[in-house]
Assembly symmetry: C2
DNA sequence: CTTGTTTCGAAACAATGTGTTCGGTTATAA
DNA sequence: TTATAACCGAACACATTGTTTCGAAACAAG
């Protein structure tokens, strides 16, 4: 626990980025692939059972049936495993950038739809039992998407840039709140209804505000 | 760590509720008051320095200069201390219930205003470094407030009750997001500006939706 | 099939944190 | 003043983390 940043657990492990969305290229070695996949899957299972916070590294290596040193040869953290599981979802937020130029917030419906299919995983990673790291990262990505979308839809009509950021914060906050309660199963609604609710609350205000 | 729920650390400690908002009646013994206050204040300081998650019980008792057994005589947890610090803020959300019946979301401005005065504490408890427990509880309280307000403003015009809950979620999500980024110091704006931004985004949508 | 390399596993470790217990001390209220 | 409730501090059992070591096994290349 002394030199977490400087020293590697296993020196022979060739460098791999630790940034968030870095889709690690798959190793050519089958053993490596097996080990990594086992740990990742174990994390999902355990999150579903106990929630992210309650999962320990010891749990992981027991469930994945992997040696302790082996674990630290591949991952630095519990969180590292979590993030490695995140690439699939991060792609979702980037799709539907400006598909239908007339409509604002086009990401909303496809997002809800896809999350319904992947409900198990989504709940494990985004729900109340999923730790806040994923949600936080999701907010960041979504914020840039919304910001770009607003700037594109209302070109040089920019009010104070500060005021636009506040608007973005509002929109993202509303969407993520909807998404969270939905994924937690507190609401039984179709993706279409969720999308409608989101857009109903948010769109009028944004449009009148930006149209000045 | 074995029987956290069942056994008390110190048996002679007469029962005190552990529910969230229970404003513990002040003890008549000065030593108790001193100890409790010291620990609570230590938590705030440490949260400001390291963030809630990073604060350990050992940190707390060192900073508060309190014996380990003494700590566990008064609190069960780190979280227990956190919640005991929360009573002051919980009152805020309940004020301004329907002061000006014409305006929606009257809680907004006074909330931002008061949080500006108590900036230190607010930041410690509500910011990104404050742990999610406080925010979660705040959302709950705020949700009931908003819900009541909407029902009062648009009496029997209720759409599907489910759809109203979604709307409440949106509104609360937007407000809390604004509040969070503001308290984290990422935005330098006056309470009035914050209130305006919130209401600008949210009010039109809510009004048109409820007016059918 | 052999050989050199890479990964794996098991066990032990130091470090740190948690929650509990206990015997003795001190402050407090009555 | 005095009985007692609150305190201290040390030690405790236990859990978790991250690191190290070494021998065994899997692997790829020839």
């Amino acid at each position: 626990m002394v030199n977490k940043q400087i020293r590697r657990a296993v020196p022979y492990w060739t460098g791999m980025g630790k940034v968030f969305g870095n889709s690690r290229r798959e190793s050519s070695d089958r053993r490596v692939r097996r080990t990594r996949k086992a740990v990742q899957q174990a994390l999902v299972e355990l999150i579903l059972e106990k929630g992210y916070e309650a999962v320990t590294v010891t749990d992981l290596i027991n469930r994945a049936d992997v040696g302790r040193s082996t674990f630290y040869a591949h991952f630095t953290d519990k969180q590292d495993v979590l993030f490695s599981n995140l690439d699939e979802l991060s792609g979702l937020l980037r799709l539907a950038p400006a598909s239908t130029p007339g409509t604002l917030f086009a990401f909303s419906l496809p997002m809800f739809e896809h999350l319904q299919e992947q409900r198990r995983l989504a709940r494990a990673l985004l729900g109340r039992r999923g730790g806040s790291a994923v949600m936080a990262r999701g907010e960041q990505i979504l914020a840039t998407v919304v910001r770009d979308e607003l700037l594109a839809a209302f070109p040089t009509r920019s009010t104070a840039p500060d005021s636009l950021d506040l608007m973005v914060t509002c929109v993202v906050g509303a969407f993520m709140a909807l998404l969270r309660t939905w994924v937690d199963g507190e609401v039984t609604a179709t993706p279409t209804e969720m999308d409608a609710a989101f857009r109903a609350v948010v769109t009028p205000g944004v449009e009148t505000a930006l149209r000045r």
